[in-house]
Subunit: 146 residues, 2 copies
DNA sequence: GGCCATTTGCAACTGGTTGTCATCTGGATC
DNA sequence: GATCCAGATGACAACCAGTTGCAAATGGCC
Protein backbone atom coordinates (compact mmCIF):
# COMPACT_ATOMS: atom_id res chain seq x y z
CA UNK A 1 0.00 0.00 0.00
CA UNK A 2 2.90 2.30 0.59
CA UNK A 3 4.76 0.61 -2.21
CA UNK A 4 3.84 3.04 -4.94
CA UNK A 5 4.10 5.91 -2.54
CA UNK A 6 7.71 5.03 -2.04
CA UNK A 7 8.42 4.76 -5.73
CA UNK A 8 6.84 8.12 -6.40
CA UNK A 9 8.78 9.74 -3.67
CA UNK A 10 12.07 8.60 -5.06
CA UNK A 11 11.57 10.52 -8.24
CA UNK A 12 9.87 13.31 -6.38
CA UNK A 13 12.78 13.74 -4.00
CA UNK A 14 15.18 13.63 -6.90
CA UNK A 15 13.30 16.37 -8.74
CA UNK A 16 12.92 18.41 -5.59
CA UNK A 17 16.63 18.22 -5.04
CA UNK A 18 17.14 19.51 -8.56
CA UNK A 19 15.06 22.53 -7.66
CA UNK A 20 11.85 21.45 -9.37
CA UNK A 21 8.71 22.60 -7.62
CA UNK A 22 6.51 19.70 -6.72
CA UNK A 23 3.02 21.03 -7.07
CA UNK A 24 -0.14 19.08 -6.54
CA UNK A 25 -0.75 18.37 -10.24
CA UNK A 26 2.84 17.24 -10.66
CA UNK A 27 2.61 15.01 -7.64
CA UNK A 28 -0.51 13.41 -9.03
CA UNK A 29 1.06 12.86 -12.42
CA UNK A 30 4.23 11.43 -10.91
CA UNK A 31 2.21 8.97 -8.90
CA UNK A 32 0.31 7.88 -11.98
CA UNK A 33 3.50 7.39 -13.95
CA UNK A 34 5.02 5.36 -11.16
CA UNK A 35 2.01 3.08 -11.07
CA UNK A 36 2.09 2.61 -14.82
CA UNK A 37 3.88 0.01 -16.82
CA UNK A 38 2.17 0.49 -20.14
CA UNK A 39 2.79 3.32 -22.60
CA UNK A 40 -0.04 5.83 -22.13
CA UNK A 41 -0.43 8.97 -24.21
CA UNK A 42 -0.96 12.45 -22.76
CA UNK A 43 -4.71 12.19 -22.89
CA UNK A 44 -4.74 8.85 -21.12
CA UNK A 45 -2.52 10.28 -18.37
CA UNK A 46 -4.89 13.22 -18.17
CA UNK A 47 -7.82 10.83 -17.84
CA UNK A 48 -6.15 8.91 -15.03
CA UNK A 49 -5.07 12.09 -13.30
CA UNK A 50 -8.55 13.57 -13.54
CA UNK A 51 -9.93 10.62 -11.63
CA UNK A 52 -7.68 11.62 -8.72
CA UNK A 53 -7.89 15.38 -9.02
CA UNK A 54 -10.57 16.62 -11.37
CA UNK A 55 -9.10 20.11 -11.59
CA UNK A 56 -5.98 19.04 -13.48
CA UNK A 57 -5.81 20.39 -17.00
CA UNK A 58 -4.55 18.70 -20.11
CA UNK A 59 -2.12 21.58 -20.65
CA UNK A 60 -0.47 20.76 -17.36
CA UNK A 61 -0.12 17.14 -18.36
CA UNK A 62 1.63 18.18 -21.57
CA UNK A 63 3.83 20.66 -19.74
CA UNK A 64 4.76 18.12 -17.12
CA UNK A 65 5.53 15.50 -19.73
CA UNK A 66 7.86 17.93 -21.43
CA UNK A 67 9.52 18.81 -18.16
CA UNK A 68 10.03 15.18 -17.20
CA UNK A 69 11.31 14.35 -20.63
CA UNK A 70 13.88 17.14 -20.44
CA UNK A 71 14.91 15.89 -17.01
CA UNK A 72 15.32 12.44 -18.51
CA UNK A 73 12.71 11.00 -16.17
CA UNK A 74 10.52 9.67 -18.95
CA UNK A 75 10.86 8.74 -22.60
CA UNK A 76 8.58 9.92 -25.36
CA UNK A 77 7.73 7.58 -28.21
CA UNK A 78 6.01 8.74 -31.38
CA UNK A 79 4.74 5.47 -32.73
CA UNK A 80 3.32 5.76 -36.17
CA UNK A 81 -0.04 7.37 -36.74
CA UNK A 82 -0.77 8.31 -33.18
CA UNK A 83 -0.04 10.72 -30.36
CA UNK A 84 3.19 10.55 -28.35
CA UNK A 85 3.21 7.83 -25.74
CA UNK A 86 5.30 7.88 -22.61
CA UNK A 87 7.08 5.50 -20.32
CA UNK A 88 9.10 6.16 -17.23
CA UNK A 89 12.82 6.01 -17.85
CA UNK A 90 15.17 4.09 -15.67
CA UNK A 91 15.14 0.64 -17.12
CA UNK A 92 17.88 0.12 -19.62
CA UNK A 93 17.39 1.08 -23.24
CA UNK A 94 15.11 -1.13 -25.27
CA UNK A 95 13.20 -1.11 -28.53
CA UNK A 96 9.54 -1.75 -29.20
CA UNK A 97 7.32 -4.15 -31.03
CA UNK A 98 3.88 -2.68 -31.56
CA UNK A 99 0.90 -4.96 -32.01
CA UNK A 100 -0.90 -3.26 -34.88
CA UNK A 101 -4.19 -4.83 -33.90
CA UNK A 102 -4.31 -3.92 -30.22
CA UNK A 103 -1.77 -1.14 -29.88
CA UNK A 104 0.02 -3.20 -27.24
CA UNK A 105 3.70 -2.49 -26.90
CA UNK A 106 6.25 -5.20 -26.23
CA UNK A 107 9.73 -4.19 -25.18
CA UNK A 108 12.79 -6.03 -26.33
CA UNK A 109 16.49 -5.53 -26.50
CA UNK A 110 19.12 -6.92 -28.79
CA UNK A 111 22.75 -6.26 -28.08
CA UNK A 112 23.63 -7.44 -31.53
CA UNK A 113 21.33 -4.95 -33.23
CA UNK A 114 22.65 -2.17 -31.01
CA UNK A 115 26.19 -3.07 -31.95
CA UNK A 116 25.38 -3.28 -35.65
CA UNK A 117 23.83 0.16 -35.55
CA UNK A 118 26.94 1.68 -34.06
CA UNK A 119 29.05 -0.07 -36.62
CA UNK A 120 26.92 1.22 -39.50
CA UNK A 121 26.96 4.76 -38.21
CA UNK A 122 30.70 4.64 -37.77
CA UNK A 123 31.14 3.44 -41.34
CA UNK A 124 28.97 6.30 -42.57
CA UNK A 125 31.03 8.77 -40.58
CA UNK A 126 28.45 9.60 -37.96
CA UNK A 127 28.11 9.50 -34.21
CA UNK A 128 24.72 8.19 -33.18
CA UNK A 129 22.90 10.40 -30.72
CA UNK A 130 19.93 8.12 -30.44
CA UNK A 131 17.93 5.79 -32.58
CA UNK A 132 14.53 4.34 -33.02
CA UNK A 133 13.69 0.79 -33.86
CA UNK A 134 10.07 -0.22 -34.01
CA UNK A 135 8.65 -3.45 -35.30
CA UNK A 136 5.00 -3.41 -36.31
CA UNK A 137 3.46 -6.83 -36.29
CA UNK A 138 0.54 -9.10 -35.74
CA UNK A 139 0.36 -11.95 -33.29
CA UNK A 140 1.12 -15.19 -35.02
CA UNK A 141 -1.52 -17.87 -34.67
CA UNK A 142 -0.16 -21.28 -33.82
CA UNK A 143 -0.17 -23.37 -37.00
CA UNK A 144 -2.50 -26.37 -36.99
CA UNK A 145 -4.25 -25.14 -33.91
CA UNK A 146 -7.68 -23.62 -34.11
CA UNK B 1 16.39 16.43 -71.51
CA UNK B 2 13.90 13.69 -72.18
CA UNK B 3 15.46 11.63 -69.45
CA UNK B 4 13.13 12.65 -66.70
CA UNK B 5 10.23 12.69 -69.04
CA UNK B 6 10.82 9.02 -69.66
CA UNK B 7 11.09 8.18 -65.99
CA UNK B 8 7.86 10.01 -65.24
CA UNK B 9 6.02 8.30 -67.99
CA UNK B 10 6.88 4.87 -66.69
CA UNK B 11 5.04 5.46 -63.47
CA UNK B 12 2.41 7.49 -65.24
CA UNK B 13 1.67 4.69 -67.68
CA UNK B 14 1.59 2.21 -64.85
CA UNK B 15 -0.94 4.30 -62.93
CA UNK B 16 -2.97 4.97 -66.03
CA UNK B 17 -3.15 1.26 -66.72
CA UNK B 18 -4.43 0.77 -63.18
CA UNK B 19 -7.25 3.17 -63.97
CA UNK B 20 -5.85 6.21 -62.19
CA UNK B 21 -6.70 9.47 -63.85
CA UNK B 22 -3.62 11.45 -64.73
CA UNK B 23 -4.61 15.04 -64.28
CA UNK B 24 -2.36 18.00 -64.76
CA UNK B 25 -1.56 18.45 -61.06
CA UNK B 26 -0.78 14.76 -60.73
CA UNK B 27 1.44 14.83 -63.76
CA UNK B 28 3.35 17.76 -62.34
CA UNK B 29 3.77 16.04 -58.98
CA UNK B 30 4.86 12.79 -60.60
CA UNK B 31 7.49 14.62 -62.59
CA UNK B 32 8.80 16.31 -59.49
CA UNK B 33 9.00 13.04 -57.60
CA UNK B 34 10.84 11.40 -60.46
CA UNK B 35 13.40 14.19 -60.51
CA UNK B 36 13.90 13.97 -56.78
CA UNK B 37 16.33 11.88 -54.86
CA UNK B 38 16.05 13.53 -51.49
CA UNK B 39 13.20 13.16 -49.01
CA UNK B 40 10.93 16.20 -49.37
CA UNK B 41 7.87 16.82 -47.25
CA UNK B 42 4.46 17.71 -48.65
CA UNK B 43 5.07 21.40 -48.40
CA UNK B 44 8.38 21.17 -50.22
CA UNK B 45 6.73 19.18 -53.01
CA UNK B 46 4.04 21.82 -53.11
CA UNK B 47 6.69 24.50 -53.41
CA UNK B 48 8.42 22.74 -56.26
CA UNK B 49 5.12 22.01 -57.98
CA UNK B 50 4.01 25.61 -57.62
CA UNK B 51 7.06 26.75 -59.54
CA UNK B 52 5.82 24.69 -62.51
CA UNK B 53 2.12 25.26 -62.14
CA UNK B 54 1.17 27.96 -59.71
CA UNK B 55 -2.45 26.87 -59.49
CA UNK B 56 -1.68 23.60 -57.69
CA UNK B 57 -3.00 23.47 -54.15
CA UNK B 58 -1.43 21.95 -51.10
CA UNK B 59 -4.53 19.79 -50.61
CA UNK B 60 -3.91 18.18 -53.93
CA UNK B 61 -0.34 17.44 -52.98
CA UNK B 62 -1.54 15.74 -49.80
CA UNK B 63 -4.25 13.85 -51.66
CA UNK B 64 -1.81 12.74 -54.33
CA UNK B 65 0.76 11.63 -51.76
CA UNK B 66 -1.88 9.52 -50.09
CA UNK B 67 -2.93 8.03 -53.41
CA UNK B 68 0.63 7.22 -54.42
CA UNK B 69 1.37 5.77 -51.03
CA UNK B 70 -1.66 3.48 -51.25
CA UNK B 71 -0.56 2.41 -54.72
CA UNK B 72 2.85 1.64 -53.30
CA UNK B 73 4.52 4.16 -55.58
CA UNK B 74 6.09 6.14 -52.75
CA UNK B 75 7.02 5.62 -49.12
CA UNK B 76 6.11 7.92 -46.30
CA UNK B 77 8.55 8.49 -43.44
CA UNK B 78 7.60 10.21 -40.23
CA UNK B 79 10.99 11.17 -38.89
CA UNK B 80 10.90 12.59 -35.44
CA UNK B 81 9.74 16.09 -34.79
CA UNK B 82 8.70 16.94 -38.31
CA UNK B 83 6.15 16.43 -41.05
CA UNK B 84 6.05 13.26 -43.16
CA UNK B 85 8.71 13.07 -45.83
CA UNK B 86 8.43 11.06 -49.00
CA UNK B 87 10.61 9.13 -51.37
CA UNK B 88 9.71 7.24 -54.50
CA UNK B 89 9.51 3.52 -53.96
CA UNK B 90 11.19 1.04 -56.20
CA UNK B 91 14.63 0.71 -54.77
CA UNK B 92 14.94 -2.12 -52.34
CA UNK B 93 14.08 -1.62 -48.70
CA UNK B 94 16.50 0.40 -46.64
CA UNK B 95 16.70 2.24 -43.36
CA UNK B 96 17.68 5.82 -42.63
CA UNK B 97 20.30 7.78 -40.81
CA UNK B 98 19.15 11.33 -40.22
CA UNK B 99 21.71 14.08 -39.75
CA UNK B 100 20.23 15.99 -36.83
CA UNK B 101 22.07 19.13 -37.78
CA UNK B 102 21.13 19.40 -41.44
CA UNK B 103 18.13 17.13 -41.77
CA UNK B 104 19.95 15.20 -44.48
CA UNK B 105 18.92 11.60 -44.86
CA UNK B 106 21.37 8.84 -45.63
CA UNK B 107 20.04 5.49 -46.71
CA UNK B 108 21.60 2.25 -45.63
CA UNK B 109 20.76 -1.40 -45.52
CA UNK B 110 21.93 -4.17 -43.26
CA UNK B 111 20.94 -7.72 -44.01
CA UNK B 112 22.06 -8.74 -40.57
CA UNK B 113 19.83 -6.25 -38.83
CA UNK B 114 16.92 -7.27 -41.03
CA UNK B 115 17.49 -10.89 -40.15
CA UNK B 116 17.81 -10.16 -36.44
CA UNK B 117 14.53 -8.29 -36.47
CA UNK B 118 12.71 -11.21 -37.98
CA UNK B 119 14.30 -13.50 -35.47
CA UNK B 120 13.25 -11.32 -32.55
CA UNK B 121 9.70 -11.01 -33.79
CA UNK B 122 9.47 -14.74 -34.28
CA UNK B 123 10.68 -15.36 -30.73
CA UNK B 124 8.04 -12.96 -29.43
CA UNK B 125 5.36 -14.76 -31.41
CA UNK B 126 4.73 -12.05 -33.97
CA UNK B 127 4.80 -11.67 -37.73
CA UNK B 128 6.39 -8.40 -38.72
CA UNK B 129 4.32 -6.35 -41.12
CA UNK B 130 6.87 -3.61 -41.39
CA UNK B 131 9.43 -1.87 -39.28
CA UNK B 132 11.17 1.37 -38.81
CA UNK B 133 14.80 1.85 -38.01
CA UNK B 134 16.15 5.35 -37.82
CA UNK B 135 19.52 6.46 -36.55
CA UNK B 136 19.85 10.08 -35.50
CA UNK B 137 23.38 11.30 -35.54
CA UNK B 138 25.91 14.00 -36.09
CA UNK B 139 28.72 13.98 -38.59
CA UNK B 140 31.93 12.92 -36.93
CA UNK B 141 34.82 15.30 -37.30
CA UNK B 142 38.08 13.69 -38.22
CA UNK B 143 40.20 13.42 -35.10
CA UNK B 144 43.37 15.47 -35.12
CA UNK B 145 42.34 17.39 -38.18
CA UNK B 146 41.22 21.00 -38.49
C1' DG C 1 -17.14 17.78 -79.15
C1' DG C 2 -20.19 16.07 -75.20
C1' DC C 3 -20.80 13.80 -71.01
C1' DC C 4 -20.22 12.65 -66.19
C1' DA C 5 -17.58 10.46 -62.61
C1' DT C 6 -13.44 12.12 -60.61
C1' DT C 7 -10.57 15.55 -59.24
C1' DT C 8 -9.60 20.15 -58.02
C1' DG C 9 -9.02 24.61 -55.21
C1' DC C 10 -10.63 26.75 -51.48
C1' DA C 11 -12.06 27.28 -46.88
C1' DA C 12 -13.40 25.24 -42.92
C1' DC C 13 -12.24 21.66 -39.90
C1' DT C 14 -9.56 18.18 -37.06
C1' DG C 15 -6.41 16.23 -33.38
C1' DG C 16 -2.37 16.78 -31.02
C1' DT C 17 0.23 20.10 -28.98
C1' DT C 18 1.95 24.77 -27.56
C1' DG C 19 1.30 29.70 -26.30
C1' DT C 20 -0.96 33.52 -23.68
C1' DC C 21 -2.41 35.44 -19.66
C1' DA C 22 -4.67 36.37 -15.40
C1' DT C 23 -4.72 33.92 -11.24
C1' DC C 24 -2.90 30.83 -7.87
C1' DT C 25 0.58 28.46 -4.93
C1' DG C 26 4.94 26.02 -3.18
C1' DG C 27 8.19 26.70 -0.27
C1' DA C 28 11.91 30.04 1.18
C1' DT C 29 11.99 33.77 4.53
C1' DC C 30 10.49 36.12 8.31
C1' DG D 1 2.43 30.03 11.28
C1' DA D 2 1.82 34.45 7.94
C1' DT D 3 4.00 36.85 3.99
C1' DC D 4 5.78 36.90 -0.42
C1' DC D 5 6.75 36.21 -5.29
C1' DA D 6 8.93 33.39 -9.08
C1' DG D 7 7.19 29.99 -11.15
C1' DA D 8 3.16 26.92 -12.05
C1' DT D 9 -1.71 26.52 -13.17
C1' DG D 10 -6.37 26.35 -15.72
C1' DA D 11 -8.96 28.20 -19.35
C1' DC D 12 -8.84 28.85 -23.80
C1' DA D 13 -6.85 30.73 -28.13
C1' DA D 14 -3.52 29.65 -31.55
C1' DC D 15 -0.79 26.48 -34.00
C1' DC D 16 0.64 22.85 -37.27
C1' DA D 17 0.21 18.96 -40.30
C1' DG D 18 -3.10 16.93 -42.44
C1' DT D 19 -8.16 16.08 -43.92
C1' DT D 20 -12.70 17.06 -45.62
C1' DG D 21 -17.03 19.26 -47.71
C1' DC D 22 -18.40 21.48 -51.52
C1' DA D 23 -19.13 23.78 -55.91
C1' DA D 24 -16.61 24.29 -60.05
C1' DA D 25 -13.40 22.29 -63.36
C1' DT D 26 -11.61 18.43 -66.18
C1' DG D 27 -9.85 13.81 -67.92
C1' DG D 28 -10.72 10.57 -71.04
C1' DC D 29 -14.26 7.31 -72.98
C1' DC D 30 -18.21 7.77 -76.39
Amino acid sequence: MTKHQTKTNELEVELRRAGVRITRPRQTILRILSETDDHPDAYEIFRRASAVDSSISLSTVYRTMKLLEQRGAIHRHAFEGGPSRFEHAGEEHHDHLIDVETGDVIEFRSERIEALQDEIARELGYDILHHRLELYGRKRRAVGKR
